[in-house]
Symmetry: C2
Subunit: 208 residues, 2 copies
């Protein structure tokens, strides 16, 4: 029985989960949640995710939410197929975990606000844009130094530490925030690399 | 050789790491970072954490930062001693991971802003306070339902999913935000429980 993903196309958190499934060559069933009719705030969906947000995920009797919890489950359950998304060596895993936390605590907080402004969900005056572009630039300065020494954030190979960035970066590359990535050569090369992965391209071609 | 924690007393992220070490009965050496002289922005510290924030952590040659990455390393390395902070069963671990992500994505973002306002780091007009108290209340409503069915967030036992909350809750219990925890009976009981754990009380008595 295929795993089930509840969400809608266009949600960055849904893309995060689907990217992990494509990297792992895992078949899935996609169930579109109708946000316009506020299906995600109704009891049936709230039983899957009490925060009323997409995605939700089911594997048999197990229901999960929070995109990064789902990708970790997928990476562990299908450890022996597809891309090695979580490194097995305890030291390497610890270093990978650092960069996953950086994504969550630093990159996501800065980039998500800029996405919300670009989508018109948050009124973004010039001061707010400048504040969050500064936050994102500070993060990308650290990434530039890291990626000068390592091809990917966790080391030599693409892992969840990189994958978790894909959706927000993909979105921001169609906005003026793109210049913050492009102006840093190692960040630019990393972005080009992770957005041209076969799994990501398959996801871009996916239509439920 | 004891592990080393670089930080200062009063930092919630440092407390998070120390709480995990006390739960695991791991000896540590504490090195105070002088924030007043901006030691955390100097090259020696930036080599430990490129973001120039506490804590940093060393175990022999391994250097880590990001408090939640450090607690996970501690929980895995010392899996067989002290409190079982990461559940071993894959399904239980997946559920634990959901609640750890909720802490990171939802609880921390709402509670940290309220802490910054309380500390005077962020100008907190009534509108901003109301906005973030609403965000925190929405999270605590979900916790109330969860804790009605389970003693701890991940299930029957105290894990990192609970531990990661301790520092922010401890701080907020001395502010007017306390009422948001106190008004929800299962959240209130959980708060009383996690802040009276022997490891947390030892940490409260710690002085470098």
């Amino acid at each position: 029985m295929a795993v089930k993903v509840y969400g809608f196309i266009g949600s960055n958190a849904v893309y995060r989960v689907l990217a992990s499934l494509y990297e792992k060559n895992v078949d899935f069933e996609f169930i579109t949640v109708n946000m316009v009719s506020r299906e995600h705030k109704r009891p049936l969906f709230l039983a899957r995710n009490p925060f009323g947000q997409v995605p939700a995920f089911e594997d048999g009797d197990l229901t999960l939410f929070e995109s990064r919890a789902i990708t970790k489950y997928v990476a562990r359950k299908y450890a022996d197929q597809g891309t090695e998304l979580i490194l097995k060596d305890p030291i390497q895993m610890a270093i990978q975990t650092v960069w996953m936390e950086v994504e969550n605590q630093k990159f996501d907080r800065a980039s998500w606000k800029l996405m919300e402004i670009a989508m018109g969900r948050v009124r973004g005056g010039p001061e707010l844009v400048a504040e969050y572009e500064k936050k994102l630039s500070d993060v990308l300065d650290v990434y530039e130094a890291r990626l000068k020494e390592n091809k990917y954030l966790a080391g030599d190979g693409f892992t969840l530490a990189d994958l978790h960035h894909q959706p927000n970066i993909y979105f921001l590359m169609s906005t003026r925030v793109k210049r913050l990535f492009e102006s840093r050569p190692h960040v630019r090369a990393w972005v080009a690399d992770i957005l041209s992965r076969p799994a990501w391209l398959k996801l871009m071609a996916f239509s439920p």
